[in-house]
Amino acid sequence: SQQGEEDPQALSIQEGENATMNCSYKTSINNLQWYRQNSGRGLVHLILIRSNEREKHSGRLRVTLDTSKKSSSLLITASRAADTASYFCATPLSSNTGKLIFGQGTTLQVKP
């Protein structure tokens, strides 16, 4: 079964707008990661936030983590058409970081 649940499942915005997607998970975690996938191809690692961090930035990406609510959000600011992709959150099992548990993903469409 999936560990994470992303919300919304699909999001359509205009270029230049911000996109926010959310992820909820079930068990305690060491870290939470966000990946991007373009058109059913391989996943690209975007950002990792550790359980003792509340917010992290990378370029136009901002990730927050609320361990009390077991949730995370990914904000993409000033979106571009090239940001069109599926975005997944993933959490490792606490004792083995090799096994990532993915959510079902949010499909983002950025219209030019």
Binding site: N30, N31, R41, G42, L43, N96, G98, K99
Partner: protein, 113 residues
Amino acid sequence: DAGVTQSPTHLIKTRGQQVTLRCSPKSGHDTVSWYQQALGQGPQFIFQYYEEEERQRGNFPDRFSGHQFPNYSSELNVNALLLGDSALYLCASSPGLLAETQYFGPGTRLLVL
């Protein structure tokens, strides 16, 4: 520096057949994990290889097996293919079992008819 490579890119098989997918990890990586991604779903962990041994396994039947070679490359074998095995198979590599970030290949899309 080549990233993770997978072959073939696409494959069509019929029910009952067997398939072998191949993965070469990113240079410097010795740990390989395999994932299955059905259409519209997130990837699901199949198993992980390190030092030529299966270290972790997800909830997949024994029809799914693998191998890791001394050069760290890996194979995923699926026997007695079912229609439900149609999916994108992703290989991911990392520098060691404890590495937090995994680097994914482009995947092999398998269609079972």
